[in-house]
Each structure stands twice: as C-alpha cells, then as structure tokens.
C-alpha cells in the first residue's frame, strides 16, 4: 500500500497527491509516469510524475477530476493509502543543455511541465515557460514556474488571465531564437504548439497521454502514429516528435471509450455526490 503524505488542491477539481513510494522515488525522472490504482479492483490510470523527493521517498502526481477514477482519487486524503502505484514508467525526458528552451504546460499538465522546466533549468538552459489554462481560476503554481524559469508567460482560453489563446507565441517565436520546445497538456494544445513551432524549425517534443491500461507495452491501446511508424505511448514514449505526431488520430483514439467513461462517471456521481451536478458547480 502507498500512503498519501500530502494533498494539495491546485484549482477547482485539480488535485496533487504526494505518496510514499521510496523505490519509485529513487528512480523517478522528469517525463516519466505512474500507473495508479486507487482501490483493489479499480482502474489503472496513467498519471505523469510531477515531483519526487528521493530523500523522503515520495512521488507526486496531479489529476483533473473528470472521470470516475480521478473523482474517486480526489476523495482520498492525507494518511490514507492507495492500492497500487507502479512506476516509474516510460522513458525519461532527454534533459541536457540545449540553449534556450520553450517549456509549455497546459491545464493540469502544468504540474509535470514544471518538473521538466526545473530539470532543464538545472541542466543550464535558459527556460521560457508558458502556463496555459482555461481561465484565471485554473491557473496554479505560477510562483514555482517563476523560480525555475527565466521568463513566464500565462495564457488562458478566455483571456481572463494573461494572453488570450496561444497565438501570441507566433510573435515571440518570430522575434526570439529557441533551440528546443517541450509541450505537455491537452492534445489540441500540443497540436497547436507543434504547428506554431514548425515553420521556425524548432525541435518540438510532445508528451502524449493516450489511453493506457497496463502502461508497460502489453495492450497496445496507447498506439500512436509518429512519422510513418506505429509506436506505443508507454514503452516508446511518452515523448515524441511533435512535428511528426498524428494528433488527429490520437484525438479520435482518446475518445474511443467516451460513452463508457461518461456512464461510469455519472454512476459514481449519483452514488457519491447525490446525482448529476450539471449547472450547480
């Protein structure tokens, strides 16, 4: 069992848990992920590693409470135990001195993006970080981002905080030289950023989050097309060349179990939150 040592509410339904898992913490690196099973018999959910502390033997992961299992995870508190935390899985990010790096994190994935920014900064890079969120209330960890970055931009879908949308990057990319770009966030955002960097020829690495079950190369549900090749998100990734990734296929594949996910989520809400809460957040 894996004891939760702290729970942090990042934003509405955006939660960060830190758990005791010394062997996992000893090996964890930026870019890798965990498979978390909250309770016996539960789903295996892949979640990116957001922090690790080798001396304390802890790892942290963040999630947006949208589906049944993430909602259930959100009910766990400090001191409680999770059934299983397997990891670290996937290949670590390639961290070395590139020069100037643009580090983009979107939505809940701002949390793991900051781990990448930190590692890139420590490797001697000049780091420019972009925090992208839906609206002001979903912005978190800005101060932390500032600590690990030479400059921080904030962008929101509705313009309530920072820039409206990501198009402002076009000007920045035209004016300034970047040697590398790393993106982690919603697929549409990763697609957008990859399209923006492509004309400037900036090597762009996206961290994909396809559906996974085992997370270790067995099931193949996480398969993605990169270039002409079929690759597995879990063992070949999760990071791939954003200019070669077939995002449209990934979006369709991510939605392949949507009706089932909705059903599961609704049933959970009915049991635990007293019914559908649409319209009364």
């Amino acid at each position: 069992m894996y004891r939760i040592v702290s729970k942090e509410r990042l934003a509405h339904k955006h939660t960060l848990l830190t758990v005791e898992a010394p062997e996992v913490a000893a090996k964890a690196q930026a870019g890798q992920f965990l498979i978390v099973i909250p309770k016996a018999g539960g789903e295996r959910v892949p979640l990116s590693i957001c922090a690790y502390d080798r001396s304390k033997g802890t790892v942290s992961f963040a999630f947006h409470e949208v589906g049944k299992t993430t909602k259930e995870l959100g009910t766990f508190n400090e001191g409680q135990e999770l059934f299983n935390v397997t990891g670290p899985l996937g290949n670590p990010s390639e961290i070395r001195k590139y020069g100037r790096v643009l580090c983009v994190g979107g939505s809940i994935m701002i949390a793991p993006a900051l781990l990448q920014a930190k590692a890139l900064k420590e490797a001697g890079n000049e780091v420019v970080t972009v925090l992208a969120c839906r609206s002001e209330e979903f912005l978190f960890k800005k101060a932390e981002a500032e600590r690990y970055s030479d400059r921080v931009y904030v962008a929101s879908d509705d313009g309530t905080v920072g820039e409206k949308g990501l198009d402002f990057l076009k000007d920045i990319l035209a004016k300034e030289k970047f040697d590398r770009c790393t993106v982690i966030g919603p697929v549409v955002m990763m697609k957008k950023v990859s399209e923006l960097t492509k004309p400037f020829g900036i090597p762009t690495i996206v961290s994909l989050t396809p559906i996974m079950i085992d997370g270790m190369g067995m099931c193949g549900v996480c398969r993605v097309t990169v270039g002409e090749k079929m690759l597995f998100g879990c063992v070949d990734g999760p990071e791939f060349d954003g200019h070669k990734t077939n995002f449209d296929e990934l979006i369709k594949r991510q939605r392949s179990m949507l009706p089932e996910e909705r059903l599961s989520s609704l049933l959970w809400e009915r049991e635990h939150e007293g019914g559908c809460r649409c319209g009364r957040r």
Partner: protein, 477 residues
C-alpha cells in the same frame, strides 16, 4: 453420462473410450463467464483412473515438460489415496489445477499413452485437475520449508515460468523474491486465459501455495524500470531468472489498424480478464464491443477472444489465413468455440480497415489466400490470390496473430544477448544467458508458446540456477 457405476467391470471395448468431461451446455455457457468444463466427480475419476494400463515402461511421463510422475499419481487415485496423489504431483508441479485445465495434454503426456493406440488415451489432464480440485476444496496443506542455503534469488515475472522457477528454488532452500509488474500475480494465467477456461480464484489459490513455500511476492514492480537486472545483482541477489513472457502484441500492418474498435488480443483480454470489463459498469474498466466481431488469427488466444466476444453478445467470425487443418488452436477449443456459434472463415487475410467519420472501424477488406507447399516443419506457406479482394462489414476487430517479448528488460540490461529478429533472449537449454548469474526462460526466450512449456523452462532453469548457486557452475555461456 457415463461412470455412474464407478468400479463397474467394463469389457475391453468399453475401456477404449474415456470418461467424458461434464460441461455446461453450449446454449447456457455462451451467456455466462463461468467455467465450461465442470470436472470429474469422484466416480468418474475412479473409472478413468481404472483405464490406466500401469505400463512397465510408462511413456506418458516422458511427454510431460515438468516430469510429473503420472502412473504413480493415477495409481493413488485407483486406491482412493487422493492426498498422496496430489503430493506426488506437487513434488514436480506447483500449479496442478492450472495445468489440469490448460495443458495441451493431447500433444504431450496423452499422446504417448499406450491406450491411445487403440482408443482414447487415459485422460491424464482431467485426473490431475480432479486431484488438484479435491485438495483445494478441502484446504491445501502447508508445505514444510527446507533449511535455508543463504542464497538470494530474484525471479522476474510471476507467470507460469516464474512461479515454477520460484517454487522449485524455494523448495531447495533459496530465498526467493518474485517481482511482478502488474498489480496481480499469475501473468498470462490472469490476464490472458479467460475465466471460463481457468477461474481466477483457482489461479490465486495456486499462487498462495507458491507463497507458502516462502516465496516473497512484490507486485507493481516493473523490472527494467524500478530496478534493472544489473542493479538486482548489485543489491545482493546471487542469481536472477527472467520469465517476463511475450507480452508485446503483433499487428497486421494494414492501413487503418489504428481505428477505434480494433483491439490487440492483449488489450481485449486484459480488459476482460484482468480488469473484469465483462462486469462493467460494476467494474471500472470498460470494453466496447459491437455486433459483428472479426477475430484475426487461429491460435488459442484467437479462440479465447472469439469465445469472450460471443459471451458479450456479439456474432463472431474467425478469419484465418490458412485452412482448418492448419489451425494452431487445440481441437477441444475449436470444438467448444464452434458449439458456441463461432463462424470460421478460412484462407483469407486482411488488407485494409475502413472507419466511419468518428474513426470507428466499419469495413474490413480481405484477400483470399491459397496454400502452397509445406516447408521443412510441415507448415504450408500461404500466398494471396490476385484480384480476390472482398469487403466484410464489422464493428469490432481483434488482432490475435501473436506476441513478441516486451523490450524493456532487453533495452535496460547492457550486454544481454538477444535475437535481433524477434527480441527473444538467447539462452542455452538450461536457461543460461550470456551474463553470469542471469537466467531466462519461457516465452521471453522462445517467443509465444504454451503455459506448460514455460513451466518446463522454469523447472530446467531452477536446476541450473541451483547448480550455479551451490557450485558456481554455469556462470554465463
């Protein structure tokens, strides 16, 4: 049903026929996930055991990859000494309830049975299952633990091969740690073989037995990531056995294979067997299955996928590129599947998959195939027939054309010799790799094969590892 009068003297002719296995009727079983084969009653087991000729020079045992003393345990059944019978089996085989259910006995022990020359061979598998079930239902005995040798062994993968190596090494007094990447032990016995062929509760009971031998089980530990093989040796393990199986699915490579509704056999089986998706939404992991399922392949895995699909309410076609004679699945499984309503389409192969606007598979284009000359192994080649393409409507496709070893250990173990063609680890006949103290066996060394052959490899490697641990022999090839 035969066998109502147990010790009835049957004439020679009657003894030519085996005692049939009681099974759920096809029209019932296709609606549930309960076990199909119900097992012999005591009377049936006694009658079947009585068919054993007690040969002076028994051939059956020679066909068993784990060397179960078959005539001896059958003799115990005829004497009604079931306790002794199961002890005899367990001296060689830690997983008798599993093997009694899923071993291809007809190609192994039973193939050699002298009774089989004239009629049905003695049904050794069913008798093994009878004893294992008899013991489990009465509570398994705790085995005695031998004196410790002080040697530490790490086993990677708690599937059939790893469980066998672990139990044999524990019985020899070594301190065994069994690392399993998934959250439950059992490997293919849990994620691959369906409940209706091998109930998961039975698998877990056999694993408890292996643990009772002193084996420490660590779940959720993916070796290669959490610890590498060289790190395990540095941490004080004196030897390592890699039994990580063949878990990486193979694909047809046809365009459109990434459409929704196209599953690898592994994904389909993991969802249904390991994550219990057949209970969705009571269980958390879903499975989406349409009305017209096409399973591509012809092995036991393909049959399992087909039979699960029928239980989930679909009409199922099996598309196999060779003909019925070449089907690699066990006869028994093919018969079971066809009784349940499987339609087999022989001599065709997929060419392309087409989807609807949501990216869900809708049509599958196939080409007819023709058989060529048999190769040196006696397997016929197949080639597409020109201009023979046809379309099939489908909403779910399951690709069951084989698995190769997972690459994680190979990629993270420097210097480990592997076959560049399929990623298998190269070993000698006793499971020695080229690295000192590192052994491997089962599907990771042979490519996808049977449960029992993986167990046999685990057994042979355990002997070689014991020799290495005690005498320092076999330090790398």
């Amino acid at each position: 049903m035969e066998g109502d009068e147990p010790r009835r003297k049957r004439n020679d002719k009657a003894l030519d026929e085996d005692i049939p296995m009681p099974r759920q009727e096809p029209e019932d079983r296709v609606k549930n996930f309960e076990e199909v084969a119900l097992g012999y009653t005591e009377e049936m087991a006694l009658a079947e055991a009585a068919r054993c000729l007690k040969c002076k020079n028994p051939q059956c045992q020679k066909g068993c990859p784990v060397e179960v003393p078959i005539p001896q345990f059958i003799d115990m059944i005829t004497q009604g000494k079931y306790d002794e019978g199961i002890s005899i089996i367990k001296s060689k085989n830690a997983l008798p309830a599993v093997c009694g259910r899923v071993c291809p006995q007809e190609q192994q022990c039973q193939k050699n049975c002298i009774r089989g020359k004239k009629g049905d061979p003695v049904n050794i598998g069913r008798l093994e299952r009878f004893l294992a079930d008899w013991e489990r239902e009465r509570g398994m005995k705790r085995p005695e633990r031998p004196a410790s040798t002080g040697k530490k062994v790490a086993i990677v993968g708690a599937g059939p091969s790893g469980l066998t190596a672990a139990s044999d090494l524990a019985k020899l007094g070594h301190e065994v740690t069994l690392f399993e990447a998934l959250h439950v032990a059992g490997g293919v016995l849990m994620y691959g073989i369906p409940e209706f062929r091998l109930p998961k509760e039975i698998v877990q009971k056999e694993i408890e037995y292996v643990q009772s031998l002193g084996v420490e089980l660590r779940l959720g530990n993916l070796i290669g990531r959490i610890h590498t093989i060289p790190e395990l040796l540095e941490q004080g393990y004196d030897a390592v056995y890699i039994g990580s199986g063949a878990g990486l699915p193979q694909w047809t490579g046809c365009p459109g294979e990434n459409l929704g509704g196209i599953y690898s056999a592994n994904e389909f089986l993991i969802r249904v067997n390991l994550m219990k998706a057949y209970n969705f939404p009571e269980s958390d992991t879903p499975i989406r299955i349409g009305k017209h399922v096409v399973v591509i392949g012809g092995g036991n895995v393909a049959m399992d996928c087909a039979r699960i699909s029928m239980r989930l309410g679909a009409k199922v076609c099996l598309n196999y590129r060779r003909s019925r004679n070449e089907l690699p699945a066990r006869r028994e499984e093919i018969e079971n599947a066809e009784e349940e309503g499987l339609i087999c389409n022989f001599l065709n192969a997929p060419v392309e998959f087409f989807g609807d606007d949501k990216g869900w598979v809708k049509t599958m284009r196939c080409t007819n195939m023709e058989l060529g000359e048999p190769d040196e192994k006696g397997r016929c080649s197949v080639t597409p027939i020109a201009c023979s393409e046809f379309d099939m409507d489908t909403d779910t496709v399951i690709v069951a054309i084989g698995q190769t070893p997972n690459p994680i250990i190979q990629r993270t173990t420097g210097g480990l010799r592997t076959n560049p063609r399929n990623g298998t680890i190269i070993v000698d006949e006793d499971g020695r790799t080229n690295l000192p103290g590192v052994f491997a066996g089962g599907d990771v060394a042979t490519g996808a094969a049977t449960v029992i052959s993986a167990m046999g490899a685990g057994k042979r490697a355990a002997k070689a590892m014991h020799d290495y641990l005690m005498n320092g022999k076999g330090a790398g090839q």
